[in-house]
């Protein structure tokens, strides 16, 4: 009897561990551009997740929308959102004065997308906004203004020296 | 600018334009030839 209780307890504990794990296994892994591109054969055709900041141009085409998501220093991935996939309103896209919305997408990664003539892309099946965008400050530093004024002052002096009448200029 | 120089100017511009079109046509021709090459590689597979 005691042994039966122990076995049942162990089975229950095992079930508690296994069930959440298999539920997690359904969440497609969030991958980076480098991971996808460097292991393109491995991820080709797989459902993956990707997170990135929406770059400036959202390109609406006849069969869907293209967006480019930046996920690091000089890495970005093209994501195609077909027309039949609901896309939330992307209020902010990246530019000098704006931080773009950070978006999480799930979709199928293509090493060489047939629909898009060999492009490396992700066709999204779901799009959610994770972090809404904001304004960037890009402050003007006082010391740079001072530097500018000083340079202009010197430049004006040199220009006067350069362009004044020939009789004042020493010549060889 | 009298009529003579204007005709010369127009003729020169026309030559320029035709030259530009010739060049663009050549580039397109090369691109087309390359497409043919890639097509042949697939057909011949």
């Amino acid at each position: 009897m005691k042994r039966l209780c122990v076995v049942l307890t162990i089975m229950a504990l095992a079930a508690l561990i296994v069930v959440p794990v298999s539920a997690n296994a359904e969440q497609p892994p969030v991958l980076s551009t480098n991971e996808l591109v460097e292991n393109s054969y491995k991820w080709d055709g797989e459902t993956v997740s990707f997170k990135g900041e929406v770059l400036q141009d959202l390109m609406v085409r006849t069969d869907g929308t293209w967006m480019n998501l930046s996920d690091g220093n000089n890495t970005a991935m093209g994501v195609f959102v077909p027309k039949d996939v609901t896309m939330p309103a992307i209020l902010r896209t990246e530019d000098y004065r704006t931080v773009g919305d950070v978006v999480l997408i799930t979709g199928v990664f293509h090493r060489v997308c047939v629909q898009h003539e060999g492009e490396t892309d992700i066709h999204a099946t779901s799009v959610t906004i994770v972090t809404p965008g904001s304004t960037k400050s890009n402050p003007i530093h006082l010391d740079r203004v001072v530097l500018f004024v000083a340079l202009v002052g010197l430049l004006v002096l040199v220009l006067w020296l350069y362009y004044r009448k020939p009789t004042d200029r020493t010549r060889h | 600018m009298n009529a003579g120089t204007r005709t010369k100017h127009m003729a020169s511009l026309r030559r320029n334009l035709l030259g530009m079109l010739t060049e663009i046509a050549f580039a397109c021709g090369l691109i087309g030839a390359a497409f043919l090459v890639s097509w042949l590689f697939f057909v011949g597979r």
């Binding site: 393109s40 770059l55 400036q56 141009d57 959202l58 390109m59 293209w66 480019n68 000089n74 970005a76 093209g78 195609f80 990246e94 530019d95 000098y96 004065r97 060489v112 047939v114 898009h116 003539e117 060999g118 492009e119 490396t120 892309d121 890009n138 402050p139 003007i140 530093h141 740079r144 203004v145 530097l147 500018f148 340079l151 202009v152 010197l154 430049l155 040199v158 220009l159 350069y162 200029r169 060889h172 | 320029n16 035709l18 030259g19 010739t22 060049e23 050549f26 580039a27 397109c28 090369l30 691109i31 030839a33 390359a34 497409f35 090459v37 890639s38 590689f41 697939f42 057909v43 597979r45």
Partner: protein, 507 residues
Amino acid sequence: MVRRVWREDFRIIGYYTGLVTIGVGLLMLVPMVTSLVFREWASALDFAISAALTLLVGYVLALVSHTKNTPGLTHAMVIAAGSWLVAMVLSGVPYLLSGHAASFLDACFDTMSGYTTTGLFLLQDLDHISQGLNMWRHLLTYVGGQGIVVLALTFLIGSTGGAFKIMVGEGKEEKLEPNVRHIAILIWRISLIYLGVGTVVLGVIAMANGIKPYLALFHGAYIFMSAWSTGGFAPYSQNMLYYHSSAMEIASMVFFILGSFNFALHYAVWSGNRREILRNVEIVSFTITVLTTFSLVCLALMQRGVYPNAVALFRRGFFQLISGHTTTGQSNIYAQTFVLEWGPLGMLATTIAMAIGASAASTGGGFKGLRMGIIVKGIATDIRKLLSPERAVVTGHYHHLHDNILSDGVVKGAAVIVVLYVLIYVVGAVVGMAYGYPMVNALFESVSAGSNTGLSCGITQASMPTLLKIVYILEMWMGRLEFLSVFTMFGFIATSFRSMRLRKVVA
């Protein structure tokens, strides 16, 4: 037989370098205005500072070295080489102020890459720079393509014989017409007309593809400048992949193919001699080598089963190959894709295409089609001589604007420069390999730098070894100036040291 260097030589060099520097300073007003238009105030200030500094340096140089003497050939070559270095350093100031340059050397790398129309970059976080800085990057390649020198010529110097010699120092040796100002004006006219047409065409395509109209115009300008100058920069890190548009890529291809042509050919065709485009040795050579290297690329890609159909094979394979062969450097695949999926043969075929390069007297780099044509015909002529009876006179010909005799001197001249290019390609590759990079990759990147192409297989990054950065900078510089100007400059410096020692001994 080395000549002595006198103080007046320094004045001539200093004065004209100063004038070129002033030109660069004025150029910086364009990105400044761009930033103002987009309300990027901090960026506009950065460019204002850079412009003021550059103009200051230029005017001080010109003031201190003021002279009425015109440059001789040696001066011209030193000015041509030296201006590039001065421009490289000062043009990097906006990069440093923007915070996107990891070091001063990185900024110099990027500006040298811009002016030489290479297209490799070490810029950090390209996807987040200002429109002003993007305008500056692309403008550098456009201006570099035309030659900083022609820019200075047009705006600052009267038509003098000295100006012609500066252009010869630049590496563009075509003797079109005796009047240099006329040549400069014509080059600018062809370039500006294409600039107008190209910006509009690419801008309209961008708009049709979903980019907002006012932005589309800037994209059109950037991509056109990048293509025509065979530079290869693009406003975003994904390069041409950003646009997801075959129309954009094809239009760009047309412009960068044309940009790779000899300016003398443009002049001939635009002046009515349209048949020249089919008879010219460079065009014939280019067509043959493009289709041959592309066939090699197709072979490699088919063998590895990289693409599923002809359209994909053409769109990715040909774009990369022709971008390489014209030494442009735009790309519609990731660098890692190129290395891992295309494989060694695909990479090598692209390397060969880059090494051969574009036409002479163009914005492109590499051996140049003219030399390929001359050398191949030279070999053919030699074989004919061997097979002919001893007393027969065999002369080879090549058609470039008109029929030319294939003299031994011409063949030798072509071969010498080709050997020098091979030398820098190999040295760059060896240094890369010494740092542990695989041979195919190291060779590819080295040839990309030396031929001013700009395609990258991933080696070019801020984290790469410092010595390798310097080697690539030197390769880009020497490759663009085709050696003569650089050698003359170093010769001049060496001579001036010797002269100074002589003077001390005499005194």
